[in-house]
Symmetry: C2
Subunit: 255 residues, 2 copies
């Protein structure tokens, strides 16, 4: 039987999602807990990998196994075995035995959180990146509108990583600002049909630089496809995978 | 010369503010950094202590020392020597040599953050407490209004701790609710002329219990002065000292 899991994690102390020998990974600690529940090793896959230091509010994963535990109760069994920086928020049976969480993801939503303050803020340091300058959210929103739609995002990925096509569609991009913790916080929330490697951290870096009046590379990036048209990649701690949408509800009312 | 410091800290890995032999405390790490800046030991005092695990967004502290560093620049020198879970957000000279951050605090604002979700949320676990039940914020606000004003809060302190008087005045109490991280978050923000030991954690526990329909002890607590009239004390990680008000601006525009 194929089980689906809705997972949250604090990425700070993980070397990312993907299992690597000798490293603490989210996939690794989940596999260890699942082995105890099912009595044997199980393959675990996610909607997509997240990098070291990147968080997830609602990652979706699958695992195959046989157990008398009802699918909707599996989350509680796993949570008893997991460290506090990973939790399974809900579990369910897959809608069909061939359902695949990686291939069938229709939309993903990511959030990038940053702030401007006179120094690093202790309560924000694990979950947000500090900007050395304040940003004009009006300018960020204007530049963000250029990204919406279907584009070749070749310039928006880290070099050395390739995928079949670099065309992606962004459905929605919102920029929010709020005062908190003696700092100004900026949140970029972006939804698309998929993202290239480091794409959200690169587009966020460009939008923050635009907001500070230090960049205006988006049009040229689309024209040339060159990474160097854009500002610096933001660091991982500000990034969270918020939600993965499959076009159908997978976890009932928990979703 | 007396310097004033505006300080933020993540209380998770501290045994509270107050220096204790063999323990990692906020006062201790600040004293160590100040000793390096001033070349000798300096006495450091805060507006009030915070317990193990309790955070501060804007604690105010003082220290005495002689240095050629301008008062407004001291914060940056200390930050170079401090661990990332403590930061000095601003520094200034005291308005007078006898100004005392403990005695002259006029108003303090605390925040208590809790959430209801099907399991512990990894990204909230350091800064919020989990409630086993959802809460009705309408009921919490109604009960919160009973607390506003000048009252004998004898029932709202942990036993074994006494102070001259248990009369305190609460100026404002707000309850907010928001959906985030697949959970419902509740924030209690309370401002008063001072708080007894554990008073914010006790009044928050009572308000959350009232919101869940499990308590209505406030009136009886005022009548009897008995701690047992009220619900359980909330755990430390949800509590933050937000702000200390001295009736005059101490840190210029940084405040």
């Amino acid at each position: 039987m194929r089980y689906l899991l809705l997972i949250g994690y604090d990425g700070t102390d993980f070397s990312g999602w993907q299992d690597q020998p000798g490293r603490r990974t989210v996939q690794g600690v989940l596999a260890e807990a699942a082995e105890k529940v099912f009595g044997r090793k199980t393959a675990i896959a996610a909607s997509g990998r997240t990098d070291a230091g990147v968080h997830a509010l609602g990652q979706v994963a699958q695992l195959d196994g046989e157990s008398s535990i009802p699918a909707e109760k599996l989350y509680a069994c796993l949570n008893r075995l997991l460290p506090p920086d990973v939790r399974v928020l809900a579990s369910a049976g897959a809608p069909s035995p061939l359902f695949d969480v990686t291939r069938e993801a229709k939309r993903k939503t990511y959030r990038y959180l940053a702030y401007h303050a006179p120094c690093e803020l202790p309560l924000a340091r694990r979950y947000a990146a500090r900007l050395p300058y304040p940003a004009d959210v009006g300018k960020m929103r204007e530049a963000g509108r250029l990204l919406i739609g279907s584009h070749d995002f070749a310039a928006f990925r880290s070099s050395g990583f390739t995928s079949r096509t670099s065309v992606r569609e962004i459905y929605d991009l919102e920029v929010r600002e709020r005062q908190e913790f003696y700092g100004t916080f900026y949140e970029i929330e972006v939804t698309g049909n998929g993202f290239l490697y480091n794409m959200v951290r690169i587009l966020s870096g460009e939008l923050f630089a635009v907001g500070a009046g230090k960049a205006e590379g988006i049009t040229r990036a689309f024209q040339t496809g060159e990474r160097k048209a854009l500002a610096k990649t933001m660091p991982p701690q500000g990034l969270s995978l918020v939600k993965v949408d499959y076009g159908v509800p997978l976890f009932g009312t928990e979703e």
